[in-house]
Symmetry: C2
Subunit: 396 residues, 2 copies
């Protein structure tokens, strides 16, 4: 069965990640950062409570990522996308194009290879909207126009970001001739369009059959669909997580009917921490002690922030400066999506330990910085607008 | 990240196991048998849809077993054990001793080594009461005196069986001097007694803190406890599943308070099929084509049935012949527990492929045979006793 240490490794990572999450939750910080830092500390590069990262641990890392992206997909109904209208579309597209161009351009300027530059650009693209959504919900602003624009644009970011990742990952995995890149891009787009476009309709047609299975039965079918599309994506040389995301998206419209998220929560709670903890354990923080790498991480982080502030803020300037700031800041966190891209890049040998550390640092920094800034922006706005409302409530 | 084929292997095994379970459920047979046979068919020895069984797949097998035994432990509250009284105790102890003696004696007679003989005896001990409980529930007889004796005795069987397994596994893993076996036996008994005896009390004391965590928080703590005690058991050279079982038993009294079983169901549903499917995939059915092995499997199965019929039936003969038959037959299934013992034995090199196939065959055969026989026994009884009751209900 299992090697002596492996069950112990999994146990140490699970308990460490959960303690880290609890600590960060108490500090008012995102739990994923706590799970990630627990992995960094427990990993072989720091205290070494978890030994060398065997192949097997990486399977748990990937399975955690698959479940994570499946749930992200579940939160991405296509109908929401249609409903958000032009502003979100503009913010989303511009919020992909500007950071990608800035990130890739910066790396090219610094003399990195074309592939690496495109990859860093890709890591800059996706928004981890979970953190922002959580902050907005805590502030009671989740139904504000700015929040709706952010959530809609983040969906577009996720889809475009994963599409870019699919093409980049596929072109690296295969031969790198221009012709084959085009073929793979078409393959990736077709896969995303087919599953993303037809999936929800197909699931809708199957509703009478699914109803008969009951909630537990639908959960099993959903997990089978998630694993099946993840495997299919891998077979097509796309990343497995893209298949998982599309499986989630296909089920997003029927999510509530079968309480899919509630039933998935325990699986998520058990497996996803392995993704963050093992991702953290892979990180060698001593790399950042090199002044050159530390400087690069800082510059990349600044460019990542600027890319979203400009790319997402400018299209909504007509709504006023503060709204533009809120939307821009709300789109800054890269969180788990940036880390996912880094993990794929490291696994495929596109980036080394140093750029991996740079991307993970950027993902953590952009995520940690947002909650307090966003809260302050709303606080400022509240001083202008919300005092009368506050008084009304007191008067009741 | 994951090797190309590994995610595909997991997907094939998951979907195959679930289809097998659905098919067997429709046939009125235990779902675990369907999952197991799906693994046999998909495995490298038959159609080879799953390639060579890499180390990583065995991790999923062990994790599935850990979750399985954790849930079995959750269903084993010590208070039930205290409540069932002398009859269950007699049935349980005699139901361990007789099959163990018959199984080990048979193997010694056939010229097998002492270790192998003790191991086959151990595989004969534990009752997989899940199947019986399901049949009794379907018959509406789960609250009958016979059912209560069976459930109580099965708890005793599980504890004694795992204790025997712990001692056997530990003595094989370590050196095999008589002195060290005694030391390890004391260690195993102390571990079981400490965790099993003090665990529930400790959990009870922690209730105010657990209440504050909420159901999801308690689920995480429970999974941490399960992994932690499984790791500890492994570190003590006992089997990991014993730690998982004891963790479940420690939580059994507070199970309902936090809806632990409902929240664990999705994790169980996702991970436990890997245990059965991979266990099936390890089995080489062609081994059974050898007439000598097939004969051995038949004899072992007959002895396994006889051991429980005699060991569990005789102590309740005073309740009448039919009751003795019901209790004896109800205790016959070995199911997942027998298979678990076989898996441990194969992993530790105590038994080879042939004895593994024999034990798995015995486990499947004893499990498949019980539901129809038990139903017929109750049908016979119903003709004598239940007709008036049936008429009463019609008369309402």
């Amino acid at each position: 069965m299992m090697g002596d240490s492996l069950l112990v490794d999994l146990t140490v990572l699970f308990i460490g990640a959960k303690l880290g999450a609890a600590l960060f939750a108490r500090l008012g910080q995102p739990e994923v950062i706590g799970e990630l830092l627990a992995g960094v500390i427990l990993g072989p590069h720091v205290i070494g409570a978890v030994g060398e990262l065997e192949e097997t641990l990486h399977v748990f890392q990937e399975l955690g990522a698959v479940i994570l992206l499946f749930v992200v997909g579940l939160d991405t109904p296509l109908s929401d996308l249609k409903a958000v209208g032009g502003r979100s579309l503009a913010v989303g597209i511009s919020g992909v194009a500007v950071p990608f161009a800035l990130g890739a351009g910066l790396m090219l300027l610094l003399g990195r290879s074309g592939t690496q530059s495109v990859f860093i650009g890709t890591a800059m693209v996706a928004t981890s909207v979970g953190i922002t959504a959580r902050v907005l919900a805590d502030l009671g602003e989740i139904r504000s126009p700015q929040a709706r624009i952010i959530l809609g644009a983040a969906v577009i970011d996720d889809i475009l970001g994963l599409l870019v990742l699919a093409v980049v990952a596929a072109s690296v995995a295969g031969s790198v001739s221009a012709g084959s890149i085009i073929v793979l891009a078409i393959l990736a787009i077709t896969f995303v369009a087919l599953v993303g476009g037809l999936g929800p309709k197909l699931i809708d047609r199957l509703t009478p059959y699914l109803d008969r299975l009951g909630n537990q039965g639908v959960l099993i079918v959903s997990l089978a669909l998630c694993l099946g599309l993840a495997s299919l994506a891998e077979a097509l040389r796309l990343a497995a997580i893209i298949g998982a995301f599309l499986a989630g998206m296909a089920l997003a419209e029927t999510r509530d009917r079968y309480q899919l998220e509630e039933h998935l929560a325990p699986v998520y709670s058990f497996l996803v921490p392995f993704f963050f903890a093992i991702t953290g354990a892979v990180l060698d923080p001593s790399v950042l002690a090199d002044p050159e790498i530390a400087l690069l991480a800082t510059v990349v982080t600044v460019v990542a922030v600027a890319g979203k502030l400009i790319g997402c803020g400018v299209p909504v300037l007509s709504m006023g400066r503060r709204s533009a700031q809120i939307v821009g800041v709300g789109m800054v966190p890269r969180g788990e999506v940036g880390i996912l891209v880094a993990t794929v890049g490291l696994a495929q040998g596109i980036i080394g330990n140093e750029l991996y550390a740079v991307v993970v640092t950027m993902s953590i920094a952009t995520t940690i910085v947002v909650p307090p800034v966003l809260a302050r922006l709303y606080e400022g706005r509240a001083r202008h607008l919300d005092r009368p409302r506050g008084r009304d409530i007191e008067g009741i």
